[in-house]
Symmetry: C2
Subunit: 153 residues, 2 copies
């Protein structure tokens, strides 16, 4: 089932993936549930805000990005084991209805985990772009990956 283990990641390598079509209905649904601020729910309030137009919650952009990441991990057979956290999320531009998002991920660091010998940590830098190739969000995320089992090496 797994094809890509800790050993298979190389610092400096970039992958590009994803094609997330953002709908107005999904923006409203997420905002009603998790981030009901006026500029995520109401066109008039959004027009008067720093965003200028109704836009997605930044946390929604994170969630949509995670979906692209998980689809990619599943398609590639990544032996992913979760993440201890995320650094430096920056919402650079608003995400609007009908935007189409994609991800560019670059491996920036690899390290062993002293307390978990069967896992390794792969830190990557993520950039999320819209259909105009404008950067909408960036963050840095370490992720835990299984090391390749001895009988598969």
């Amino acid at each position: 089932m797994f094809k890509v283990y800790f050993e298979d990641f190389t610092v400096g390598v970039t992958e590009t993936y994803g094609n997330y079509q953002v709908s107005r209905a999904e923006i409203l649904e997420f905002a009603e549930k998790y981030d009901p601020q006026p500029f995520h729910l109401n066109d008039e309030a959004a027009a008067q805000s720093v965003f200028g137009k109704l836009c997605a919650s930044g946390w929604h952009t994170c969630a949509m990005t995670m979906r692209m990441m998980v689809n990619h991990m599943a398609a590639q057979g990544f032996a992913s084991s979760g993440s201890p956290g995320i650094d430096k999320i920056r919402w650079k531009r608003p995400v609007f209805p009908h935007d189409i998002l994609h991800v560019q991920a670059t491996v920036i660091e690899k390290s062993d985990m002293p307390n978990k010998k069967h896992l390794g940590l792969v830190k990557a830098s993520y950039e999320v772009f819209n259909q105009d190739n404008s950067l909408v969000m960036s963050f840095i995320a370490p992720a835990m990956f299984l090391k390749r089992p001895v009988n598969e090496s």
Copy 2:
């Protein structure tokens, strides 16, 4: 409508709020949509993972925390104008079905925004605890707040 402006925040002050009841159905719904990794969807896969039991996506914990933050902002009348990003998200413990979450937020820094004279930046440290008062997540977030209008001072 707004009662609490940039000027009203004081470095060092802590607020505690929220009472988010996490359901298994909501964990599954979020995970199916945004983070369909086996340990967020399937009890057996979760039992074999580092988490030990089916648990919420870390991004879902962020979203639930945001809902508590927005409820608090609305109840208090915060003149909130969004956030440029988030730093140092750390998922300390898994969030399980039936957990009840609350937030402890401490103001750690205030600053003017050179390009936006009507706004100020309030940086706060957030800690999210479960019903056992165990820390499940922490992060640091700067948020933009309107300055108090001159005619209201």
